[in-house]
């Protein structure tokens, strides 16, 4: 028996619970997926069911939910009931925030905890924005891609504010790990949504430069390539006009290494009407030497797909599909 269990006092032996009759789980005579509950878990849940069913919204009920949560933080019914109790007993929500931060640090990948935090932060209002941003920062120091923590951070920014240093924070995270796609996504979120930056159109130019620089230092990094395309989402005519974008494709293509992303982006440009200069044609032609079967009369877009079918074999089906469904103007 573990020391934990030694220290744990059964509810049946706690005087303050003597008036409550535990309610066993109605699993039926032959349950499937039965869990061999340990005595402490079973009893805690039996008492939880009792207060949940009687609707007892008291301090002892609050403590009981904490015990139940410590054994299974994924029980959303317990969390739901805890919120009802918190409201009924008019609990100090700052204390509750401290408590939830403690639980969240140990279980950072759990929907219920983050939902609870959001509920609390909403009640506490803009004054907790900074604290919440700091908290997610601590989570990112351990796992910079924690999905729940990123959702929470975005919600805080949107609902409570705190945008001032957000772009710098993204830059900082990307300096640590330029491959961190969550940080790229956050960057996109900031430049499109921050009330302090003037939106995508005013940020576009500087962000193109940022992404291009990231690509040139690590051309095998998919994140900035997708980011670059994202900067022109819904605006393909501007995408094809930006020389920096076609330029970075050409520059990477000429190295003949990591050619999948630049070829893919160039294909995108062509599909939207980009008119390639002879330089582009010859850069792609230079890659074609290893692709003897493609006909010399085929279009540049067609050749790109053929090259990709060979150099990106895991996606050969995809590239072959793209090749047979090119927009008519680039066939």
């Amino acid at each position: 028996m573990s020391s934990d269990e030694d220290e744990w006092v059964p509810f049946s032996r706690r005087p303050e619970w003597s008036d409550v009759k535990p309610v066993p789980q109605d699993d039926g005579p032959h349950p499937v997926v039965p869990i061999a509950y340990r005595a402490d878990f079973r009893e805690t849940m039996d008492y939880f069911r009792a207060v949940y069913l009687s609707g007892e919204r008291s301090h002892r009920a609050l403590n009981l939910t904490a015990e139940a949560i410590s054994m299974n933080p994924g029980n959303y019914t317990v969390w739901y009931f805890r919120r009802l109790v918190l409201e009924a007993v008019d609990a100090d929500l700052n204390d509750e925030m401290e408590y939830i931060n403690c639980v969240a640090s140990k279980n950072s990948k759990n929907y219920q905890i983050w939902h609870h935090k959001r509920w609390l932060a909403e009640k506490l209002g803009p004054e907790v924005a900074q604290k919440e941003l700091e908290f997610t920062k601590r989570i990112f120091a351990i796992d910079a891609k924690n999905y729940h923590a990123w959702s929470h951070r975005q919600w805080v920014l949107d609902a409570l504010g705190g945008w001032q240093n957000e772009l710098d924070y993204c830059t900082e995270l990307l300096e640590d790990d330029i491959f961190n796609n969550s940080a790229w996504n956050q960057r996109y979120f900031v430049i499109t949504r921050s009330p302090l930056l003037g939106g995508l159109q005013s940020m576009r130019e500087s962000e193109v430069s940022y992404a291009v620089e990231a690509i040139l230092s690590n051309p095998e990094n998919e994140s900035p390539w997708r980011y670059l395309r994202g900067l022109y989402k819904g605006d393909p005519n501007l995408l094809i006009c930006n020389n920096q974008i076609s330029g970075v494709c050409l520059q990477v293509l000429k190295t003949k290494h990591n050619i999948i992303f630049p070829l893919s982006l160039l294909l995108e440009l062509l599909c939207h009407g980009f008119q390639p200069s002879t330089e582009f044609v010859s850069a792609v032609e230079a890659l074609r030497t290893s692709v003897p079967e493609s006909s010399s009369t085929s279009s540049l877009a067609n050749t790109i797909c053929s090259v990709l079918e060979i150099v990106d074999p895991i996606r050969s089906n995809y590239w072959s599909w793209r090749r047979s469904h090119l927009p008519s103007q680039v066939c």
Partner: protein
């Protein structure tokens, strides 16, 4: 294995050990750059996986066959044991018991393993104890009804397939539950006052479609919410603004198909994003620059399997490039109207919500059937490579499946690795239930699993039975 499908993956296979992966390594070495966390973690996994594939390619033919075999008996043993008894550590899944039922019973159905009538009755009885009197199913007896466990419970009952299993579902109460979970913006919350996301939308719509209770009241506004979740990368996020993610992409895409609004998504960018999630390890990653994980064999592979029946819509989008959402809404005049309703904002003011009104909604039950009858355009992913990852890197020889080498098996990964294996095996089948050509199945042909209906992730025959059963109810 001369003529075996392993040959068809040899291009990709050699890519792993030589050309495709070596340039970045040597570049990095020359530049003497410190690798980032992402790169280091990725390299560790690539090394483990390529070691496994090296052993495969160096092994004699009969050993290769053995290595690529699906250990059916072991899997059934692992699954059966879980159905009968779970250890104390499973208390952390005590609010997910219908999920455990679904992961296990669906996995067994994929393996064509039927349950004893007694076990079937026990499962129906147990799930009825998770059912809330006012509709929906909770994570265990007496728990608050929750959309995810409702989906798991309904899918389990459909997989069990008996009349008593199907009759045990209270459709009217369930519909009321779904409507109670619907937010004013159209999206769904997981439980009363719970979190709102794409998962909640999918589980609600999937269940409603399956039970033939899908109508405009349930679908209104859902498509608008999913559209807001499609990211600049092309995939779909859990909430507007979040990062494109495999699980949510499947949920969002399947939802849009079920409500007849899939043409509103930017399918070309979605397809491109998903196609790029299959990596050097042959399996799928969940997000850009994240590690491979066997469960995405279904979430991402299943998304591309859905896409195989949407290629004509995607091809139309390519032809009419570029087209904005507004233009697209205009072009849909005739069967679609834009409508608006007013809702109070938290600050007391009013806000107009415009939503997309699809007059075809309510044909939801037929959608699932029509969809699966659409011509299969062939896979856009490398289905043989995916099978190789599942069989060699996720399969646990003692039974069950895991995320990746170095991890431990669990029921969730067993369910989604097997589901992913099924969709990759049937990716070349012309019609949904016709057996695939021999070279579409990696390893012995006896590896072949049952086909699934990819919109619900249900074994196809079980889906047909349920569809017939519920289609006569109104």
């Amino acid at each position: 294995m001369e003529s075996s499908p392993i040959d068809s993956s040899s291009n990709a296979s050699s890519g792993l050990s030589s050309s495709t992966s070596s340039p970045p390594h040597s570049d990095r070495d020359h530049r003497q750059i410190t690798l980032t966390v992402t790169q280091l973690e990725q390299l560790k996994v690539e090394e483990k996986v390529s070691e496994i594939y090296r052993i495969l390619s160096g092994a004699p033919a009969h050993t290769q066959t053995l290595m690529l075999e699906l250990w059916r008996d072991k899997h059934i043993e692992f699954l059966t044991r879980g159905l009968n008894q779970l250890g104390p550590t499973y208390r952390v899944l005590d609010a997910n018991r219908p999920w455990l039922c679904y992961w296990i019973i669906h996995s067994m159905a994929l393996l064509r393993e039927s349950l004893d009538i007694e076990v079937e009755n026990n499962a129906v009885d147990f799930l009825s104890r998770c059912k809330d009197i006012n509709g929906g199913y909770g994570g265990g007896p007496g728990q608050l009804p929750h959309l995810a466990t409702t989906y798991a419970a309904v899918n389990t009952l459909v997989t069990l397939g008996s009349n008593s299993a199907l009759l045990s579902i209270n459709r009217e109460a369930l519909r009321e539950f779904l409507l109670r979970m619907k937010d004013f913006c159209g999206a769904f919350r997981m439980h009363h006052t719970g979190e709102m996301d794409v998962r909640a939308c999918y589980t609600a719509i999937s269940v409603a479609s399956l039970l033939n209770i899908l109508d405009f009241e349930i679908t209104k506004g859902v498509g608008d919410y999913i559209l807001r979740c499609q990211t600049y990368e092309g995939g779909i996020a859990g909430e507007p603004g979040s990062e494109a993610h495999g699980g949510y992409t499947f949920c969002g895409l399947a939802t849009m198909i079920l409500i007849n609004e899939v043409h509103r998504l930017d399918l070309t960018s979605l397809i491109d994003w998903v196609a790029f999630r299959q990596g050097l390890e042959f399996g799928f990653q969940g997000r850009t620059n994240k590690l491979v994980d066997g469960c995405y064999s279904f979430w991402q592979g299943g998304s591309l399997f859905l896409i195989q029946r949407l290629l004509s819509i995607a091809e139309n989008q390519i032809k009419s490039l570029p087209m904005s959402i507004e233009q697209e809404q205009l072009s849909m005049e005739g069967n679609v109207d834009s409508a608006a309703f007013t809702v109070p904002k938290p600050d007391g003011s009013q806000r107009q919500i415009h939503y997309f009104e699809n007059k075809d909604a309510g044909k939801g039950s037929a959608t699932g059937l029509d969809f699966i009858r659409t011509t299969n355009g062939g896979p856009l992913f490398h289905s043989i490579a995916l099978q190789q990852y599942i069989l060699l890197c996720s399969q646990v020889l003692e039974g069950g499946f895991k995320d990746k080498p170095g991890k431990v098996r669990d029921h969730y990964h067993s369910c989604y690795c097997l589901s992913g294996l099924s969709v990759s095996q049937y990716s070349f089948s012309k019609s949904a239930d016709s057996p695939p050509p021999p070279n579409a199945v990696l390893g012995p042909y006896s590896n072949l699993l049952e086909p699934v209906h990819p919109l619900y992730n249900l074994v196809l025959d079980k889906y047909y039975k349920a569809h017939e059963f519920f289609s006569v109810m109104s």
